[in-house]
Symmetry: C2
Subunit: 211 residues, 2 copies
Amino acid sequence: MNLYFAPLACSMSTRIAFYEAGATAQFTQVDTRHKLLAEGGDFRAVNPIGQVPVLRTEDGWLLTENAAILPYVADRFPEAGLAPADPAGRARLQQWLGFIGTELHKAVFTPLLDPAAPEGAKAYARSKTASRLDALQQHLAGREYLLDCFSVADAYLVTVLNWAPYCGIDLAPWPAVAAYQQRLLQRPSVARALGEEMALYKEEQRHRAQA
Amino acid sequence: MNLYFAPLACSMSTRIAFYEAGATAQFTQVDTRHKLLAEGGDFRAVNPIGQVPVLRTEDGWLLTENAAILPYVADRFPEAGLAPADPAGRARLQQWLGFIGTELHKAVFTPLLDPAAPEGAKAYARSKTASRLDALQQHLAGREYLLDCFSVADAYLVTVLNWAPYCGIDLAPWPAVAAYQQRLLQRPSVARALGEEMALYKEEQRHRAQA
């Protein structure tokens, strides 16, 4: 499988899933600002919207959307136990992937992280932040993971929460969320993915500064 | 099963799924503006974020997020064929549910439909509209449905596209999308759900005007 990714973007959650599963995968870096493949070429030919992640499966077809890629990868490596198999567990997994994607990623973080977003869009995102983190705090208090054990939903959530300091969100008022994040950052798969992508991110920033 | 819904909100997609399946379900109306159950009581006790849909399953537990509820309902009525069962088909279903939820619903329609959204948030949403509808146009050209046959992803998409005229989006520049919408509106399950919820919506508007 080949994952089109951008350093520290939401695609990092799929890298974490691969590392959890001990899986071999290719990683193709994308400059999502300029919609170019790092090795050259128009990324819009892969994904017309120009967003990561895109997964090229072993059968050669392309899959987009974290809430589709993450369960797909989990199912390819069932021995890693990254997704529940029973219908209720599966539904709860998709619920959390949906919540993270719609309520946190798109409603809160995307406008706050985007330098091109107007101030009104950022204010609108900030107006939604507390209620979303309140819901997360309520759920995570007394829990180690979103579900009964580590799943691809945790891989997505720790990736998204990692953006908080970059857009002025201090998690301290939500102590269960802050503790969850710190705990997950200690996990070898997460620490490895974050370390590698942070290095790639800094390299990309250096290149942009020189350009 | 009991669906907490608001008239013409995204929860209508689950109503369509129930009608497709010929299933018996309860429908509990919610005033999402005031976070109240129509029959009285605080809806936040059901969902702290105050959003529909919420599904109370036959086992009594609560499920949120369209991308979780719709496949769950589809799986409860497999004879209706509302969701593919093979891994690749399933992944593509979740991809479309993810795309509709993140790229259309949250990124475009939520800010445009919300009277409380600042102009900057609406401008940001408008800046994303064309590329999202372009992607949809490209996919739907020559296709009848998002997947090979009608699925819960179509139930979600027709529900979301129904909001276009309420926020100044004319689908004419995307003829495959406009034709898809018109075709889906003829589908008995969709026509019935839309007719019933339109009546409830108008009644709610009348009540609000009198209040």
